[in-house]
Amino acid sequence: MTAPGFGFTARSRPSGFLKTVLQSGMGRPVKQLKRVTLQFCDNGSKSRFARLFVENHLTDFARKHPTVVVYAMPKRDAMPQVCAEYLNGEEEMHELDHKHPDEILEAVETLAGRSGLPLIRIRKDWHTYTPSIQGEWHPFVNKKDYDIQKKIDFSIKLWDAWTPRKNAWAKYYRADELDKLTNRPILTYEEKSELPLGKWGPQLPPIY
């Protein structure tokens, strides 16, 4: 993984949002791994398995991924390392000392399958570049009749004293629901006295 940029300490880890390359490869997948450089020593004991990997598995790997450039660079007294470079410019190094050829193959295959995006903490499980289709809110979003050339009129509106006032909760109901509430059947006094628990309430046993 690439080193985090400036501004990060042990207490503040790099973080970012979810990203993809080439719409997750839909339509025309392009392998993002550009180049693999394998460095090892031709004499050292730490590079013993790396040399075995170069002899047995490296050509198969190169044949399997034809778009990837593979370099094997023997260098005296060097630590065995693999460097992967991606199309977006990211580099990633892995140390291979005392590692079995199967482990090296697994590491190189995972490098080949990756998109090259840095491995950082993901802030959210989802991300979109178009968070709102209808547009963000602004003060004039529901004021289509506002005219900047018209002079502002702040005179008070006078009501007749007998105008019926709506209840404060009336605006939270639909028109048909409000009609049901306002015009609901109300029991008369006689019906109430006959049925103290309501018309649909429990029926009391007769008293003898």
Partner: protein, 178 residues
């Protein structure tokens, strides 16, 4: 009114100037209403850490209404800090001295008591009558409606409307008209 892609955020976080006519309105209700707009609580983008409050211009502060006998019974108190420094004054006396003081006090007390209180209160502009400076009135884009509906007085009706009003009984012709 549409904005471009880059100007969208400027429009979202721009400050709006509201105007409120305090004619025949209660002072406490104005304080509740104005403090919400000054803090930006009416906006869908409100967040306590983002400064999204608006400006509010209150006109006709001289004409506020109190219910009951509050003009005489309501007493504002303060203390100078010295001995015997307690000052008490009835509401109508305060209103004669400074017609904007009662509304300003009600708004200031409704804004939460923190470090932003005085900054937010600077965005409230109270005037005793309808004479607002042109540099302030030109910014206003929205009109707020007061908390209470104002009924018509008997002087607001014409003679024809008075005569056409349905009568329960006819007055004697010698009845004295006021």
């Amino acid at each position: 009114m549409s904005f471009g892609r880059a100007n969208q955020q400027w429009a979202t976080f721009s400050r709006v100037w509201h105007i409120l006519n305090a004619d025949r309105q209660p002072a406490g209700g104005i304080g509740v209403l104005v403090s919400r707009y000054v803090q930006g609580l009416h906006k869908p983008i409100y967040h306590p850490t983002s400064d999204v409050g608006d400006h509010v211009v209150v006109v006709n502060a001289k004409k506020i209404a109190y219910s009951g006998n509050k003009w005489e019974e309501k007493v504002f108190t303060a203390h100078t800090g010295r001995r015997k420094g307690r000052v008490r004054m009835q509401a109508f006396k305060v209103h004669e001295l400074d017609p904007t003081w009662i509304i300003r006090r009600n708004i200031y007390r409704q804004i939460p008591n923190n470090l932003l209180r005085r900054t937010l209160f600077q965005r409230v502009h109270v005037f005793e009558d309808e004479n607002v400076p042109a540099e302030i009135i030109e910014n206003v884009t929205n009109v707020l409606i007061g908390p209470r509906p104002v009924p018509k007085a008997i002087t607001d009706y014409t003679e024809e409307e008075k005569d056409s009003f349905p009568k329960l009984f006819l007055r004697d012709k010698y009845f004295l008209k006021s």
